[in-house]
C-alpha cells in the first residue's frame, strides 16, 4: 500500500513536471470582447492557474494574483491562425504524392523569434502545417505560442489530429510536371485520393484478418502460422481519417476541385474537414454549407497564380452569409502579425459584422482545429489565452499591449526588449549579412511549396534570379 502511494506520488509529480506552467492574472475594467456573449463594458476577467475562472464586475484579486488595469482598453481572445508555417523546420516531404505518415510533430523550432513577433500581434495559437506539394501531405501540429519552452511543451495538449491535403496547381506541378508521376491534372488528383483510400481500406481488412488469425494461432499454438501483413503507417493514418479521428485541412482554390473532394469525402463518410485558401469557395457556398464543410481563407490575396484569378476579397463575407464556418488565416509570417486587420477587411468587403469578423480569427479557427471547447472565446472554464489591446483590435491604430497564454504574460509592450532571441549564435551579431532573416512581406505564394524546389529546377533558378 505504501509502495502504491509512493508510486502515485511519483506519477503525480512527474505529470506536473511535464504539465505546462500556468499563470494567474486579474484584468480589470476592460471592454471584454467575449466573441460568444457580446462585448462587456467595464468588466474584469480573472484567470487562475491558466483558466478563465470568472468574468464580471469589480472582481477581487485573490492573494498573490497580479492585476492589470485595463481601463479604456479592450480584451479579446488570443488570435488563432488555422494555417501557418511559422516555425516549421521542414515543410514538405515532396517525394511522393501521398505522405500521410509524415508529421510536423518533430519539425517544430521552438526558438524561432517569429513566435515572439506573432505574440506581439496578438496571436496565441497556430496550426503548423505541412506544405501543399502532395495530394495527401503530412499531419499538422497545433501549437500554443509559449515562447521559450521546448518543442514538446509548445504542443496544444489534446488538440485534434489534423492532416494536410492539397488539390490543383501545386501537387500537379510538383509531381506531374516535376517528377512525371500522377497527378498531372485535377482528374489525377481525385484518383490519387480515391486510390489511396481504397488501398487503405483493403489494407485494414487484410491486416485485421491477419491479426485475428495470428491471435488464434498464438492461442492454439498449432497449424500453420498466417502469412504476415506488415503494419503500414501511411494506411493506418488514412484509415484514421476515414474513421474521423483526424480533421482534414485541404489546400484548394477552385470551386470544381472543392466539389470534387466533397463528393469523395461523402463516398468515404469523412465529415470533419476544412478547405484552406479556398479562393473560389464563395462560388459553392451552398454546397459547402449543405455538407457542413468549413473554409479558412485569405482576406484579400488573389491573382498571384491562375487558380486564384477569378476570386474576390468578398469571399469570407459570402461564405459567412451562407452559413459556412469560415476563418481568416495567414499562411505567412507577416500576415500572422496583423491578422486583426485581415479580419477588419472582412467588414469592409461585404459588411460582415465586427463580431463575426472577430470570430474568423478566434472561435472559427478553434472549431476547425477541434479546440473550441478550450479556446476561441472568453468564457469561464476556457484557457487564459487573452490579449489586451490599447484600442479596438480591428482599428489600424490599435496595438496589442499584453498577450497571455495560459494566464502567463508572454508579451508586454511596456517591457519589450529589441533582442528577443532565445538561442543566440555567437557569430551572428556581426553585420555581415549572416544574421539577416528571410524577409516576408505581403505576398509569398510559394510558402506552401517550400522545400520542393529540388523538383522544380527551372523555378529554383527563376527564384535565385529574382
Amino acid at each position: 500500500m505504501k509502495k502504491l502511494i509512493t508510486l502515485c506520488l511519483i506519477l503525480a509529480f512527474s505529470t506536473t513536471a511535464y504539465a505546462q506552467e500556468k499563470g494567474s492574472v486579474l484584468i480589470q475594467n476592460a471592454t471584454v470582447i467575449t466573441v460568444t456573449n457580446g462585448d462587456l463594458e467595464e468588466t474584469d476577467v480573472l484567470i487562475r492557474d491558466g483558466i478563465i475562472r470568472e468574468i464580471g464586475k469589480d472582481l477581487n484579486a485573490p492573494r498573490g494574483v497580479e492585476t492589470v488595469d485595463a481601463t479604456g482598453k479592450f480584451v479579446m481572445p488570443g488570435i488563432i491562425d488555422a494555417h501557418s508555417h511559422l516555425n516549421g523546420v521542414d515543410i514538405n516531404e515532396a517525394r511522393n504524392p501521398v505522405t500521410a505518415e509524415v508529421t510536423m510533430e518533430e519539425s517544430v523550432d521552438p526558438n524561432e523569434v517569429g513566435i515572439y513577433h506573432a505574440l506581439a500581434g496578438g496571436a496565441t495559437t497556430i496550426h503548423l502545417m505541412h506544405g501543399s506539394a502532395n495530394v495527401i501531405g503530412g499531419q499538422g501540429e497545433t501549437l500554443k505560442l509559449r515562447y521559450g519552452v521546448s518543442q514538446e511543451e509548445m504542443k496544444f495538449e489534446n488538440a485534434k489530429r489534423t492532416i494536410k491535403f492539397a488539390l490543383g496547381e501545386n501537387p500537379t506541378r510538383v509531381h506531374g510536371q516535376g517528377s512525371g508521376v500522377q497527378p498531372r491534372t485535377r482528374m489525377g488528383v481525385e484518383q490519387v485520393v480515391r486510390g489511396h483510400f481504397d488501398e487503405a481500406l483493403d489494407y485494414k481488412r487484410k491486416r485485421e484478418a491477419y491479426l485475428e488469425a495470428k491471435a488464434q494461432y498464438d492461442r492454439r499454438s498449432r497449424g500453420t502460422p498466417p502469412v504476415p501483413v506488415a503494419e503500414n503507417l501511411r494506411y493506418e493514418v488514412l484509415n484514421d481519417i476515414i474513421e474521423g479521428e483526424i480533421f482534414v485541412h485541404c489546400h484548394s482554390y477552385r470551386a470544381d476541385e472543392i466539389l470534387m473532394l466533397m463528393r469523395v469525402f461523402n463516398d468515404y463518410g469523412i465529415e470533419n474537414y476544412t478547405f484552406q485558401h479556398a479562393n473560389e469557395a464563395f462560388k459553392v457556398a451552398n454546397e459547402l454549407a449543405k455538407n457542413g464543410a468549413m473554409t479558412s481563407v485569405f482576406s484579400d490575396w488573389w491573382a498571384y497564380k491562375f487558380e486564384v484569378y477569378y476570386s474576390t476579397a468578398y469571399n469570407a463575407s459570402i461564405l459567412n452569409a451562407n452559413g459556412v464556418v469560415n476563418s481568416i488565416n495567414s499562411d505567412n509570417d507577416q500576415l500572422l502579425r496583423t491578422l486583426n486587420h485581415e479580419a477588419a477587411k472582412v467588414v469592409r468587403y461585404g459588411d460582415t459584422s465586427v463580431n463575426d469578423a472577430i470570430k474568423m480569427i478566434t472561435l472559427h479557427p478553434a472549431i476547425q482545429l477541434g479546440i473550441d471547447d478550450r479556446v476561441g472565446s472568453i468564457e469561464e472554464g476556457k484557457h487564459g489565452d487573452v490579449v489586451v489591446w490599447d484600442g479596438h483590435p480591428l482599428s489600424i491604430y490599435s496595438k496589442a499591449e499584453m498577450t497571455f497564454v495560459d494566464g502567463i504574460k508572454y508579451f508586454d509592450l511596456a517591457n519589450d526588449p529589441d533582442d528577443m532571441r532565445i538561442q543566440i549564435n555567437p557569430g551572428s551579431d556581426f553585420d555581415d549579412g549572416s544574421n539577416f532573416r528571410k524577409i516576408v512581406d505581403n505576398r509569398d505564394e510559394d510558402a506552401c511549396i517550400q522545400d520542393t524546389f529540388i523538383l522544380l529546377q527551372d523555378q529554383a533558378q527563376t527564384h535565385a534570379h529574382n
Binding site: 451552398n286 476570386s311 469592409r348 489600424i396 544574421n435 539577416f436 532573416r437
Partner: protein, 438 residues
Amino acid sequence: MKKLNIFAVIVTLLFGLNATAEAQITDKPGFGKFAITGATIHTVTNGTIESGIILIDGEEIAFVGENARITNEYTRIDASGKHVYPGFIDGWSGLGLVEISAVPVTVDNAELGQFNPHMYAFTAFNPHSASIPVTRVSGVTTVLSHPSSGSIAGKAAVMDLWGYSPDSMAVKKSGALIMNLPSSSGGGWWDDRSEEEIKKQYEQNLKEINDFLDKARFYNQMMKEYESDPSNKTKPDYDPRMEAMREVLAGDVPVVISVNDEQEILDAIDWIKDNDDMNFIFEGVREGWRVAEEIAEAGVPVLTTTLYTPSRDYDNYQRPYQNPGLMAQAGVKVAVVSDDIENSRNTPFEAGYAATYGMGVEEALKAVTIYPAEIFGVADRLGSLEAGKQANLFIADGDPFEPMTNIEQVFIKGYKIPMVSRHIQLYQEFLDRDAVNE
C-alpha cells in the same frame, strides 16, 4: 393586374439586362460638373475643411472651400458626414505590367539585358488588367508602374487608373528610371558566395554601370554640341539606349535605386555623390532607420513599405512599422508604397501602420499623396485637393487608413468612376447565388 404583370416583365428585363451587363464593366463614368457638398475635406496641403464644398469641372478641381454658389449645371453629391481625400498614389507597383505573377506569359515587367533605359513600362501597361478596377475602387487612383530587371530595368510610368489606353492614363510616361546597384554585403542567408567573390562581383558590376553612364554622358555631350550648332559637324549615330539616358542626365527624370540593408544604403549614398548630375530616389530602404541621418543629409527621398518581417533576428518587432516615421523624423521625404501588384489597393494600410508607429496621421497621409507626387514631379497636377489640380479624389465614410472604412465614390481625372470591379461583380453574383425572381 395586367399592368402589374407588365411592370414585373419590365423589372425582370431591366434586372436581366443589368445582370448581363455585369460580366464586364460597361457602366459609363460620369463626366462634367460635380459639386460635392457637406463633407470633411482633407486637402493635405491646406488643412482640413469641415462641411466644405468641392466643385469639379471637367478634368479639374474648380473650387475647394467653405462657401460657393452652386449653379444648376452642377450635379450635386451630398457627402454630409463623409470625408473627401485626394486620390492615393502608390509610388511602387507592378500594376498593369503583371497580370498573374505565376503565369510567365502574363508577366511583362522584366526585359532581358543588363541596360535597358529605353524600355518603357508605359508600352506594356495593360489598361484592361482586372487588377486596375480592383485598385481604383479602393481609393488608389494613381500608381508608379515599374519594370524590374538587370542594372537598368527601364522607365517606370506614372499612370492614372482610369482610361482605355496608356496614352490617356499616363500622367508621366517617363516617371523614373529604374536602376539596381550591386550589393556589397551579399544577398543574405541564401547567398552562398564567398566574401571575395561577392567583393569581386560587386566591383565588376559597379564598373559596368559606371562605364555605361560615362558612355551615356559622352553621347549626351556630343549630341548637345551637335544640336547647339550642327554646322560643320557630323551627326553622331543614334543609339536608343544612350538617347533614353539623356532626359535622365538632364535631371528631368529621377533615378530609383532599390536598396535595403544598411550597407547597401551607405554604398548607394557614396555612389550617388559621384553622379550628382542625376536626381535619385531610394526604394525599399528596409533598414533606413539605421542610417536615417545619412539619407536625410544626402537629400534622397524614399519609397518604402511597412508590412514585412524584421530584417534581422535581433531587431525589435516594430522596426518595419516604425521605419517610415524614423526616417521622416530625421528629415527624409518618405512616400509609403505597396510594392505590390494586384493588392496595390492595400497602400492605405501600409500608411496606416506608419501613422500608428511614429509617423503620425498627417505625415502618413502626405506619404501617399503629395510626397509621391512631388517625388515624381507631378505635384502640379496631383497629390492634394486644390483648385486647378486634376480631379483625382475619393469620398469615404471614415478614415481611409482603417480597413473597416468604405470607399464610396472615386473620381479620376474628373471622371466619376463606376464603383465596380471583378471582386464586387463576383460578390453581387454569388452572395445569393440561387436567388431566382427576386
